[in-house]
């Protein structure tokens, strides 16, 4: 099925708007906050959202079937002063001049923002929270070359949820309103614990009205547009839009289209309430399926119509954007991805495969739209239908890096080990990049911080002294030059890790308390189990399950470094600790032979070799167990992850030379993937190495990237073999895998940097070769072919 003309033109139109800043939200929320000073924060938040939804500009674009906009035009980003006031003020003059992620802003808009932002001084999490840290933790927080990067939830709202979309589709906000009113009537207001509950319920009632009113505004606008529309078919469409928006999300959805429109209002308002990322639609093909199948059975909907509506939702998801926080001095620029993870397939609460016809249409929607959102994922298990995997592999082959693949066979038991009951574990979805999270009821703080394992090793090898600043920032774990056994190295490393984890937890728990105080989120709380049952906002711990998930970064670099020390220094004695530490201190300057010895003559993680694989396991497990012993202020546990988003690049930037032959400042390895260029035995060896890391302990998620040259995905037969690889991945009980189909540009980069690209394999009719080992002439030939294959 090809996308319809409407879809093509909507997609084209979306791409035609420049990225710009929209000041409306900032103006409206500031007005509201000024008026509500002194009131309970949860009420202030509800009133502020209500003001925004009532006054913000709305539009219905030409040809749109699903309506609802976040800002005054597509590709405009609203401003969230309640979290961003300081960083937005600091970057105001650079937004329009950045080389990447540029946002246009007029002088007049800047003036408006400057006036507003002064109101927010000392009122944001970023300004309030760090001051509450104990002195030692604050020093660690303020390091120029940090071990911990805990700033995402300091500079932004939290997000990272899979709320209960189905509850609103089934009951509407009318249903929520009734439930809340009943709760309020049943509460004895004289009981002390009921005071804050009643405030929360009042806030939810404000929200219910505000959301319904917002939809009515679209109904009014659609009617108005219909009255002046000459084209009869468009007139009819506009009337339909009006009728739908009059009905949902106040009332239960009756049709697939109403359900999609209601879904979109929810997803949209989440992104108006806060600037949290990774607000993930979760098991979209499951909660929408009843509406889809009913309409189809009753002949109210054709597959073509369903596809077009889905395509429209996909486009809408790309319309929501966020102002990206890139400090002007930042060395590495990464784009901001909304990371709205939508997951297809998998098993249900009863353990049955529930891949359905809608799952296929969703894959097709992604192929049609080919834009970053949603972050598309699939759930794989031992009985995933072959037909579904074929379709998945076809999408992988297009080279967009989607979908990511998650393994029910390990994720469900690992969630259960965190105390999640079987039914909830089976109903997991993915938040953000890779974080397994029960649907409907979990506040996981899944991307809470990045923890630099590479930096900990650097500090362990230099008695706590940072090699970039020359300052002692870690524990004094002894002069490594005097170490006479590998165990001493390992023990020094572990001490540094434990020390910094404790400080990381101190930071995150402080942020958590401040979020509860400053940024309750009554809108999303209204459809997050069990906030209403408990009468408690999400930010305060109202969700059924609460976690905090910080990620360890640099696992492969540490494993390879420890392997090099173990084998080359202590076993083969090709190098002394003294020589090693000197070479590291000098960043291998003038000692390329030492660097190459470390890089090439010790086994590396990713090649199915015992020593590095078991060291990766030991390091990963140690990090996970250390983290897992802590608790957060919402009554939940810490749960560790081993994935980087894109932080492995900036985090590598603050780490000195390491014993795996990595020079200062080079990016660290990506998640639990091997170090770039070190896995030279192909994907099966990588999967086997990775399988030795204890996935069940990294319950907040792991990440494995595999590169494929398109030559390995050429024929139908090749694709079937990739499916076999996926089935093996499932049996090996790895959590996550995603495939990057190598582009011609990647190969050109590899020509410039062969050492870090030794893993690139190309296959030509039964002949395989490592790309970087080929002659320039042949490389050029392959680059040319690659361009034709994608």
């Amino acid at each position: 099925m090809e996308p319809t003309l409407r879809v093509k033109s909507l997609r084209k139109r979306l791409r035609s708007f420049p990225q710009a800043i929209c000041v409306e939200r900032a103006v409206l929320i500031t007005e509201s906050y000024r008026e509500t000073e002194g009131e309970p924060m949860v009420i202030r938040r509800a009133k502020a959202l209500s003001r925004i939804l009532e006054k913000m500009s709305i539009y219905i674009g030409d040809g749109e079937l699903i309506v609802g906009n976040q800002a005054s035009a597509p590709n405009k980003a609203p401003v969230f002063p309640e979290t961003g006031a300081r960083w937005v003020a600091e970057q105001l003059d650079s937004f329009a001049t950045r080389t990447v992620n540029r946002f246009l802003v007029t002088e007049e808009e800047k003036k408006v923002l400057r006036d507003i932002l002064t109101y927010w001084k000392e009122k944001t999490v970023l300004e309030v929270a760090p001051k509450l840290l104990p002195d030692e933790t604050r020093e660690i927080f303020e390091l120029t070359y940090p071990v911990i990067s805990p700033t995402l939830f300091l500079r932004n709202c939290v997000g990272h949820l899979v709320p209960n979309y189905a509850a609103i589709l089934k009951r509407g906000f009318g249903g929520i309103r009734t439930e809340v009113q009943e709760k309020m009537e049943s509460l004895d207001p004289s009981m002390p614990e009921n005071i804050s509950k009643l405030q929360f319920y009042r806030a939810v009632l404000i929200i219910c009205d505000a959301v319904s009113h917002f939809a009515q505004r679209y109904a009014d606008l659609a009617e108005q547009l219909a009255s002046t529309e000459d084209d009869e078919s468009r007139k009819k469409e506009l009337k339909d839009i009006a009728e739908i928006c009059r009905w949902v999300p106040e009332n239960p959805a009756r049709t697939f289209r109403e359900a999609l429109q209601a879904f979109w209002f929810l997803q949209l308002i989440i992104h108006i309430e806060t600037d949290g990322l990774a607000e993930s639609p979760g098991r979209f093909d499951q909660y929408l399926y009843p509406y889809f199948s009913k309409d189809l059975a009753e002949g109210k909907l054709t597959l073509e119509e369903a596809q077009e509506l889905l395509d429209c939702v996909w486009i809408k998801m790309n319309e929501v954007i966020k102002l990206s926080d890139i400090p002007p001095a930042a060395k590495y620029f990464g784009g901001v991805t909304m990371s709205e993870n939508l997951i297809l397939g998998g098993i249900n609460e009863d353990g049955e495969d529930v891949t359905n016809e809608l799952s296929y249409l969703c894959l097709e929607a992604d192929r049609h739209i080919m834009l970053p959102q949603p972050a598309l994922s699939i759930r794989l298990h031992s009985r995933t239908p072959e037909r579904f995997l074929l379709k998945v592999v076809e999408l992988i082959k297009t080279g967009g890096g989607k979908p990511a693949i998650f393994n029910d066979e390990i994720i469900i038991p690992s969630l259960m080990s965190d105390g999640i009951p079987l039914k909830d574990a089976r109903n997991y979805a993915i938040v953000g990049c890779v974080e397994p999270t029960p649907s409907d009821n979990t506040n996981g703080w899944t991307n809470a911080a990045m923890f630099n394992l590479g930096k900990c090793l650097e500090l362990a090898l230099h008695n706590g002294v940072c090699q970039l600043s020359g300052k002692r920032i870690g524990l004094e774990t002894g002069d490594a030059k005097t170490f006479t056994s590998f165990d001493q190295v390992m023990s020094a490393f572990k001490k540094q890790v434990s020390y910094f984890i404790k400080h990381m937890v101190t930071m995150l728990n402080t942020w958590d308390k401040v979020h509860a105080e400053l940024i309750p989120t009554p809108f999303v709380s209204s459809f997050m189990d069990d906030c209403i049952a408990k009468g408690q906002d999400l930010a305060e711990g109202g969700a059924r399950f609460n976690f905090t998930g910080p990620q360890g970064i640099g696992l492969a670099d540490v494993a390879d470094s420890l392997t090099a020390i173990k084998t080359l220094v202590f076993e083969k004695k090709l190098l002394s600790m003294d020589q090693l530490i000197d070479a590291l201190s000098n960043d291998f300057e003038g000692q390329e032979d030492v660097r190459l010895l470390l890089r090439n003559k010790a086994p590396k993680y990713g090649n199915a070799e015992t020593t590095p694989d078991l060291l990766a396991r030991e390091v990963g497990l140690f990090y996970c167990r250390e983290v897992a012993q802590y608790n957060n202020p919402r009554g939940g546990k810490y749960r560790p992850g081993l994935y980087p988003v894109a932080s492995n690049v900036p985090l590598g930037g603050v780490v000195g030379a390491l014993p795996n032959g990595r020079k200062k400042g080079i990016p660290l390895a990506d998640g639990i993937s091997p170090v770039h260029g070190c896995d030279v035995k192909g994907p099966t060896a990588v999967l086997r190495s990775v399988s030795r890391v204890e996935h069940a302990a990294a319950t907040n998620g792991t990440l494995l990237n595999i590169k494929f040259h398109p030559s390995a995905l050429k024929s139908e037969n090749d694709m079937k073999k990739l499916i076999s690889l996926l089935r093996s991945f499932c049996s090996l009980k790895l959590m996550h895998i995603q495939f990057n189909v190598v582009s011609a540009d990647t190969l050109r980069m590899a020509q410039l940097d062969p050492e870090n690209n030794r893993d690139l394999m190309v296959r030509v009719a039964g002949y395989s070769a490592m790309f970087v080992d080929l002659d320039k002439k042949l490389q050029d030939d392959i680059i040319e072919r690659t361009e034709h294959m994608l």
């Binding site: 032979d593 090439n600 073999k721 690889l725 089935r727 049996s731 039964g766 002949y767 002659d775």
Partner: protein, 304 residues
Amino acid sequence: MDIERTTGLIFNIQRYSIHDGPGIRTLVFLKGCPLRCEWCANPESQLGHPEIIVVPNRCIGCGKCIAICPEKAITSTPIGNVINRSRCTVCGICVEHCFAEALQIMGTTKTAYDVLQDIEGDDIFYQHSGGGVTISGGEPFTQAKFTFSLLKLCKERGLNTAVETSGFTSYEIIEACLPYTDLFLYDIKHLDCDIHKQHTGVENSLIIDNARRLAAKGANLTVRLPVIPGFNDSEENLVNTVEFVKEIGVTEMHLLPYHRFGEQKYRQLGREYKLTIMPPEQERMESILKMVERRGVNVKVGGN
């Protein structure tokens, strides 16, 4: 004979091989080949003893190899370090000290048991894909004992086995391996004996005869035809080959288009690559494919 302890000379073990037999396979490349095909893409496979290759773009010019070589066989030249092959005893000391891996040894002696362990590591991938092991070369049957041992050990462990062969060996050797071999990827390069000898160094009669006998024995054969422009791609030879394949009762063919990816390895080995022809165009391959199909043989370009 303790087959687990039989040793072989191996120059590469390649996993996730997807074009040399069914499923996901591990390819074991054995060293030594009686043929000298002009187009050979793996020249490091030809000699039956270890060799050292020089990869100039990895060399950092530290000079350690020149200093350390006991035979003084390495010299520095403007195009990189060069090994005087007549002096080199392949002692491997230079390779050990070349941290940049600009010098590498091709050919390591391993026991069948060690290789089996390596192969079995990927077992889970074979299970899901119907794959297994393919022994390739060189010509695997020049290391007859080792090939027999490895095939038998693999078969005893339930692995799917394939051998990629030139067929240039005594029939008795192949026959001994037959019970342990699920698939022969059997090269037929030319049906004319003289032309065959001229471009591969050996006559084809043994190859043709062995193919006939193997097929008659009911072995599972896929005939592989390297398509070398100007050598074996004449209409006449192509038709003869397909007719021969049909005549002996084989139903599967692979067409392997000539490529020049092996060219640089000749330089790395200090040898000369003599062919100057270009790879066949894609259209040409497709027309050959259609011709073979028309004659009723299942055919693929590349492997399966």
